[in-house]
């Protein structure tokens, strides 16, 4: 991979964004298709498809890390600025995931307050969704912060 024009941080962030967007769309489609959250908990096919989407995200991201790794003898691909960007992006990701989980929990309570019970399938959405949300927020935050600190953003 050519790092002459973009930093490793930027390239990894873009690729991670693509990989996790595909995984996210795949999971959301799986979750809401064929009966919605109510039937998700008892539909093993959709379970498998959802897990496959998440596995695609993890394997894809791992592949991105491997293909963009630091080669021996090559100039450093990251430095203190990248570390600062990653740290700030992680802080923002934590806040976004906290707000996302909180909002979903409150939203479910409001939606199902009348019936007194929440379809258990939503727990899968909460679990998978929080992973995908974190994995999408981090590269977006990195791209924004990289743009800002590059002087062009």
């Amino acid at each position: 991979m050519d790092f002459s024009t973009s930093s490793q941080t930027r390239i990894r962030a873009w690729l991670a964004l693509v990989v996790w967007s595909v995984a996210g769309v795949g999971f959301v489609a799986t979750f809401f298709a064929g009966g919605g959250p109510g039937g998700f908990a008892v539909d093993s096919t959709r379970h498998l498809a959802g897990a496959g989407a998440l596995a695609f995200g993890f394997f894809g991201y791992w592949s991105v890390l491997w293909f963009t790794r630091q080669r021996r003898g090559a100039p450093p691909l990251t430095d203190e600025r990248d570390a600062e960007i990653a740290a700030r992006a992680n802080q923002l990701t934590l806040v976004v995931v906290l707000v996302g989980v909180f909002s979903l929990a409150i939203g479910l309570w409001i939606a199902y307050e009348g019936s007194g019970q929440v379809p258990v399938g939503w727990m899968w959405f909460l679990a998978y969704g929080s992973v995908i949300l974190a994995s999408l927020t981090s590269p977006i935050a990195m791209l924004v912060m990289d743009g800002r600190t590059s002087g062009h953003g």
Partner: protein, 70 residues
């Protein structure tokens, strides 16, 4: 109390040192070319250690490269 701003003379010093490229400066200072670009654009303030390493590459003091403006 205002934060002030830090300006630098990296671009000028590079050209005064045989039109040194950003890549060469980055390799000698131990950072990435993108960080040198960010410094020259004023989008990033380096750590003290990096500031010293950049100044050392040019053979000057830190205050000849970086200037703090109130």
């Amino acid at each position: 109390m205002g934060e002030g701003s830090i300006q630098n003379q990296i671009r000028r010093l590079r050209f005064e040192h045989g039109e040194m490229t950003q890549q060469v400066l980055a390799e000698r200072a131990g950072c990435t070319r993108q960080t040198i670009g960010a410094l020259e654009q004023g989008g990033y303030v380096p750590s003290l250690a990096l500031a010293f390493r950049i100044a050392r590459v040019f053979g000057v003091g830190v205050e000849d490269v970086f200037e703090f403006l109130d």
